[in-house]
Structures are given as structure tokens and as C-alpha cells.
Amino acid sequence: MPSLNLDRVRKSFGTTLVLDDVSLSAESREFIAFLGPSGSGKSTLLRIIAGLESADAGEVWLEGRRIDPLPPGERGVAMVFQHYALYPHMSARENMAFGLKNAKVPREEIDRRIADAAAVLEISELIDRKPAQMSGGQRQRVAIGRALVKQPKLFLLDEPLSNLDAALRLRTRVELAQLKQRVDAAVIMVTHDQAEAMTLADRIVVMNDRRIQQVGRPMEIYNRPANVFVAQFVGSPAMTLLPAQLSGDGEFAGLKLGDGSAVDTRVPRGGLPSGAELRLGLRPETVRVDGGKATTRGKVELVERLGERTLVYARLADGQAITAEDEGDSRVRIGDEVPLAIDGAAAHVFGPDGAGYHRADA
């Protein structure tokens, strides 16, 4: 039985539809990331689950109980807010105890749970401090502790790392991953950072334009993007898309690009829409600057040296932009014309409606 179940959730703000019949289910102890650009509806969906917004239509079920008519405090969910939302006049201990007192949890039980959470989060020394006397990272831990002591069936994390500096963000990411192992609950995290989603989540829910675009394990999202949006949103730098025509007649699709070069993919020809304008999708790491196996040439517009590798942004003869990779010590310079080796075996194909087609074993 799934832990969380969303059934055709719909929400408008005024005349603006922000969620269009969203359905989703999550297993217990599953870590789900809602990934999408701002305005995609991901935060609204989280707030509907929390009870901070009410859906116009649809149902929310948690552990076999319909929770969408219930007030937030009775849903069995806990939330870590983006700006922590700690009560400023209460100590860390009082912040954590507040919800439990409201739920009439016995005094000794409250003390025990707070002591446990403080030990896990290593905040025992600051348990009697007020939020103003803590650093950002410490407040973050107290906010997590406040959620933890409620022993919820579902944790909701709203952009939990966005307020932390880069070093602390990496550390907290590791801590969240460890936390996930400890808690006996499902976790939903909203983020616009794909690295957070990829590293933390069991499954990623990619959202855009009021709808769920794809639900899948991180590598599935990366390797088999359901459509052009997912392909371009996940992965950095973004996937190259090139207009292409179907040619030849093998088991796998052969594509002819606008500059006349051919790419032999491993995408089965059978499922593709026939006679249509297709798009070839290429991750930067599948296009190499390589004289030996070159299939086409590009004029370099920008070179980004990242140390272990170099990103080369170029244009093909027909003016299409393409992103390629080269060695860390690449000698490519802006304005050069370089040979490009496209690895057709790793290529993706997208139909005219944006739907993705991939090699069978990807």
C-alpha cells in the first residue's frame, strides 16, 4: 500500500490554474524530490499536502487516511520551512516541544523525544538557546529537530538547503541523506536544484507548467527523459537538441542532421513517428572534440574550462548550437573550427510533440 497518494489534485489562484489534475503516490520511507523551475506548481503541491493551501479538487491520502479535509496539525505531517520559521522568543527546546504540547504528549515523552532528536542532530549544547543566538546551520538543525520529534508519517522539506552557503549546503545534504536512513517516514523535498534532487531522492518528480512531467529514479530521469522539458531541465549543461530527419532503414533509427552529417542511434526505429520532424538529443559528454572519429565539424563560440574537463559551445555548419566536451587540458580556443565525434549510441530522439525515445537498455 502506498504511504502517500495524491489523486487528481487541482488548484487555481484566481483564474490562474497552477496544478492541473496531479496524481502521484509514494511508498513509505521513500524520499521524493519535487524538481522544477519556479512557478511550476511544486511548492503549491507541497503546501496542499501540508494543509497550508486547500486544493480546488482532488484527494490527498496518507497511510490509508484521507487528510485533505483535516487541518494541518492533524495530518501526521511535519514540515521544515525554507526560512526555518523557528519561533524567535522560544529556545530550541521550546520550539521542538511546542507541537508536542499542543498534541498533549506527556511531559516525560516530550523530554525523551527532544533529547533523542538533539543527540541525533548534535544540537544538545544549544538546546536552551534562542534562534537569534544560533548560526544558520544550527537553526536549520533545530527546524529539522522540530519536525523529527513529531514522529510524522511524512516529512515535507521546502527548499531546505537554499538558505545555506555552499560548504554548509554540501554538509547538510549529507546529513539529510543520513537522516533519511533513520526516520520511519516518507520524505518529500521541494527543490529547484537538480544536484540536490539527484543525490538525495529515491525518485524525482519533475514538474513544469502545472503538471508532472516525469516520475522516476534519478538515473532514469537522466537517461530516459520523458520529454524535451525533462531532457533540458535535468543535466548541466543542458542537453543539445538538433533538428533531424529519419533516414535509412535499419533496426535502429539513423538520423540526418541539418549540416548533412549522419548519426546512427540505438533508438529502435519501430516506435518513432514516421515522416515527422524529429530532434536529436545529445548530452555534452556524448559529443567529443576528436579528430579521429569526427562525424561533423563546429565553430567554437565559447570555451569553459572546469579543470577535469572542458566544455566547448560550438555551432554546426547550419548554425545549430551544440555543446561538446574535451579534455581538461584542451587547447581549443574561441573561433577555432573543431572536429566533433557524436556518440550515436548514447543519443536520444524526440518526436514533434516533444516525447522522448531512447535505446531499449538505457
Partner: protein
């Protein structure tokens, strides 16, 4: 830092210091000096030391006026604070309706004391006043608010609360808008009901505003003057004579400037003591508190 630099700095503040000395420090010291002399409007007067003060402390009229002042302040400040807070809580929402009502409640604050007392004369007058008519409608005998020893201070307090509620309400509204929305969302997820949320989230967040309102209003009401002068001229038989009214009558009715100055110094010290005590008490209570 060189001394030349110090002098240049002093040059910049000199205009203000000059003005400050002229209109604040000098009158303050002059008042203190006056209070040690027996002075009328004509002639130089003569030094009497603490004679004025000694006379003050045995003057039953001054004593009564001080008691009246304390009583009316106590009648005004707590209800005023609570009413202003309740109004702010009720009107702290978007929308033109709330904005209009906010404007209406604030509008009394822009009236001059003359107009306020005029309005309340119409309301409080026993024979033809609004309250009197309302009383009569119930078949009761109208109350003579302004000529009854026991009702005149409550009437004064009522008038003052009506007049002064706008500004504290604005302060509370500003305080309420400083409370982040996610604080209330966190409280909702923590299962806090309306009362708990108010007691545990809203009220502590407004603590500084409450302190500010109480301190400002206490200092203001200890100097209450216009309402008692214009509504009842301190009557009936001194029942609504406040300390500042006593001061006014002594200085500009009986021309005892030295005696009035001594009363002013005493009142000044009382207000200072009350304000500092409040500041000290609340400072202790909010000691370790900071932002979030």
C-alpha cells in the same frame, strides 16, 4: 584621532547644540531655578530655597490633582492598549473594507482636543446628550457624567481613549505586519489553535510594541490637560483637576510662577521615575530576546 579632528566634529554639531541649549537646556534649568524662588509675573522675586516644595507637599489641592492624574492614567492606559490591540488584530487584513475602517478609527487622532471635547460634551451632557437619550430610551435616569464626582474621571478616560486609540492601533498594525507568515504556518502544522497561536506566537512577537505603547501612553496621560480643562475645567469641586491643570491654574490663574515650577519639577520626576521603572521591568523580562 587628533584634537583638531575633534574640534572639526564639534563644529558640525554646534548648530544643533546651540539650538538644543537655547530651547531645551536653558528653560529646564531656568524652571529649576524658578522653583526655588517666589516669583510673580512682575518683579524679580526672591529666593526661598525648598520652600515651594515644602508647601506643595502639604497642599491638599496638589495632592488631589496628583491622585486624579494617577487614577485617570490607570483608567486610560490598560483599556486603551487592549482596545488598540483588538482593533489592530481585527483590521490586520488586506482589502479596501479593512482599510476604510482603519482610516475611520485613526481619524479621531487627527482632531484637536477642542473638537474632541466639544463632541463628547454633546455625548455626555445629561439633559440632551447622546448617552442621556439612550439611557432615557431604556427608561433610566440619565447620568450626569460631567457633574458627578465619581463619574467625571471615567468620562475623561472615555473621551481620551476615543481620541487616542488611533496611533497605538497603527503601532500594533505595524507590529503585526512584521510577523512572518511562515510563523503562523509553522504554528498551524504544530497543531496550535487560535488562542494558543495568539498567546504563544502573536503576543510575544508584539511584546516590544506593547511596551512602547504603554510607555508612550503613560507618559502622555500623566500630562493630561486639555480634556479636563475644556470638558469640566477641573470640576466638579476639583474632581477632575489633573496635575498639569493644577500647574496651569497656579501659573496663569494665580500667577505663582515659582510654586507652579516646583509642581512641574515634581511631575517631571514622577514621569521620569514611572517611565524608567517600566523600561527597567520590561528590559528584564525581554532580556535575552533577539530577532529570529
Amino acid at each position: 584621532m587628533t584634537s583638531a579632528r575633534d574640534w572639526r566634529g564639534l563644529l558640525f554639531v554646534a548648530p544643533f547644540l546651540a539650538l538644543y541649549s537655547l530651547i531645551l537646556v536653558f528653560p529646564l534649568l531656568r524652571g529649576l531655578w524658578l522653583s526655588l524662588n517666589q516669583v510673580d509675573l512682575f518683579g524679580a522675586g526672591h529666593f526661598v530655597g525648598f520652600g515651594n516644595y515644602a508647601e506643595l507637599f502639604s497642599d491638599p489641592v496638589f495632592g488631589t490633582s496628583l491622585v486624579n492624574t494617577f487614577v485617570v492614567t490607570l483608567m486610560i492606559v490598560p483599556p486603551l492598549t487592549v482596545i488598540a490591540l483588538l482593533l489592530a488584530l481585527a483590521l490586520n487584513r488586506a482589502g479596501s473594507g479593512a482599510a476604510i475602517i482603519r482610516g475611520i478609527f485613526f481619524s479621531s487622532a487627527v482632531l484637536s482636543v477642542t473638537i474632541v471635547t466639544l463632541i463628547w460634551r454633546f455625548i455626555l451632557a445629561p439633559d440632551a446628550g447622546l448617552l442621556g437619550e439612550a439611557w432615557k430610551a431604556f427608561g433610566w435616569e440619565p447620568l450626569a457624567f460631567l457633574s458627578d464626582q465619581h463619574l467625571v474621571l471615567p468620562a475623561l478616560a472615555l473621551t481620551t481613549i476615543w481620541w487616542s486609540v488611533g496611533f497605538p492601533m497603527l503601532l500594533f498594525l505595524a507590529g503585526l505586519q512584521q510577523i512572518p507568515e511562515d510563523m503562523y504556518e509553522a504554528a498551524a502544522l504544530d497543531g496550535a489553535g487560535r488562542w494558543t497561536t495568539f498567546r504563544q506566537i502573536t503576543l510575544p512577537a508584539l511584546r516590544r510594541t506593547v511596551v512602547l505603547v504603554v510607555m508612550l501612553q503613560t507618559a502622555a496621560q500623566l500630562q493630561l490637560f486639555g480634556q479636563s480643562q475644556l470638558l469640566t475645567a477641573g470640576g466638579p469641586s476639583g474632581g477632575s483637576r489633573t496635575a498639569v491643570l493644577f500647574l496651569f491654574e497656579t501659573a496663569f490663574g494665580r500667577w505663582q510662577l515659582g510654586y507652579a515650577s516646583a509642581a512641574a519639577e515634581v511631575l517631571f520626576l514622577i514621569i521620569l521615575a514611572v517611565t524608567l521603572t517600566q523600561y527597567w521591568l520590561t528590559g528584564r523580562a525581554t532580556g535575552a530576546e533577539g530577532g529570529r
